[in-house]
Assembly symmetry: C2
Homo-oligomer: 310 residues x 2
Amino acid sequence: MNVENRAEDFVHRLDAAAKAVEDKLDALLAPGPLAGEIERPARLLGAIRYSTLGGGKRLRPFLVLESARLFGFEGDGPLRAGCALEMIHCYSLVHDDLPAMDDDDLRRGRPTTHKAFDEATAILAGDALLTHAFDVLADSATHPDATIRCNLVLALARAAGLGGMVGGQALDLGAETARGALSQQEILTLQAMKTGALLRFAVDAGAILGRADEARGQALSRYGAALGAAFQIADDILDAEGDAAALGKRAGKDAERGKATLVGLLGLETAKARRNALVDEAIAALNATGLGSATATLAEAAQFVARRNN
Amino acid sequence: MNVENRAEDFVHRLDAAAKAVEDKLDALLAPGPLAGEIERPARLLGAIRYSTLGGGKRLRPFLVLESARLFGFEGDGPLRAGCALEMIHCYSLVHDDLPAMDDDDLRRGRPTTHKAFDEATAILAGDALLTHAFDVLADSATHPDATIRCNLVLALARAAGLGGMVGGQALDLGAETARGALSQQEILTLQAMKTGALLRFAVDAGAILGRADEARGQALSRYGAALGAAFQIADDILDAEGDAAALGKRAGKDAERGKATLVGLLGLETAKARRNALVDEAIAALNATGLGSATATLAEAAQFVARRNN
């Protein structure tokens, strides 16, 4: 395939995965309580569904599906793991949008959850989504082997918690107060935690589900780390260039808020060169798996993440 | 032992367990990151430790320890499971105290987390604690058998999430708006979710860790449900009688806020009779386990919870 056909094929695969993820999330967040649950209150469930369903490229679940497929593992297990990850991603958006955090009224053109419902309901919807992600992973429907399921729970907890995403958000809030006083290394650590850790978990989850050998698991993890860094720098570039449409939110906000970004520190051109180098690094890591053309879709995902203009 | 000696012995055991729990929580929330974590940001970790360490009777972990001991399972595993449960309890207090929720400035005589730090940090500290609870359960240090660990994760997620504690809090917020329009059954469901589910999980966790047979597990679960209901009604009675010292918070707040309580619905005397009946029910469930005098401490726990005056 030529470059354009590859990109088109990629978008087709991404859309198909998004549809499957949407259907599975819809089923996982149905009104009927599971064994051990008492009831699922309607308004809270409504806020959870509002926060989770109806949109998004579902990039993180897609990466889970594609990574697991490298190791011959397809079907409901990777889809469930992808949905668990998406629940974490969605809860983090709900909490980040709160007045005490980023104080955003709109997300993807719709009122944020605390605007559509109320602040208390948004806090609780986030808490419930976060909790439910671990339910989905620990359920035997995700993988027949309980050790694999525990490894998924551990990996997600470490990617999403104190030493990962939540910790990164805390560092970011501190950085806003410090107004740009962060070093390049501090920014890289912050971004690796805030956005990188979940993206890396996506490919790690595929490797865990598919019982990848250690060398391949590590190569895939390097891919995930490079992809996550490319994703963040592409986001910073879009914000600086003012491309609100591609960004899905108002541009120029980072600078206004005094957020420390690599674009601010390195300048736009150096940042773009760095982004491209990260894509090369991601693809080199894929090649190191020795899985050949099976990794073509993940290679395309790295290009897609860096472009972020479709 | 006579009644007074039994009560004294019980308090001694409870204190010893609280000390062990405190030490283990301190170790689990140390600065050093685990494998898969990037770093633990100091201010966030400080808020988490502030919210978790330094107090409380640690009733929930105590129930885990005592329940597991019924089945011959002691040591680090039940202690870790108890700490995971305590993390969930503590996160729920941090989020419930937020301005958008109960808006409390003090808890156990100290500023609440959002007052001692800031609101964003309190939200994130709660999120990180909630996440970390599942890390602790899924780690092989909690039990050598991964199926047992997955069962703990599932049971805790269902007790704490949408169909349990978080759902109960959402119903409670709705009830405040509705101002007392709840039926007795609705109040019972709300309370079973908001406070009962975690207390019941405590004894279920002991049964899961100790591989209790189904009949004993179910009897213990009935004990946990009765204990949870007795706990809540005792809390409502203390609030109505204005015993701020025993309650650990300002009394009379429930009525002020228009919270639906059984005391409000049934009157104080009927509520007390109901509380006593629940203690009898809890003890009958213990007797149904056929474990004899081994359950004496749990029987004392039911009395203790109903008294709540020490």
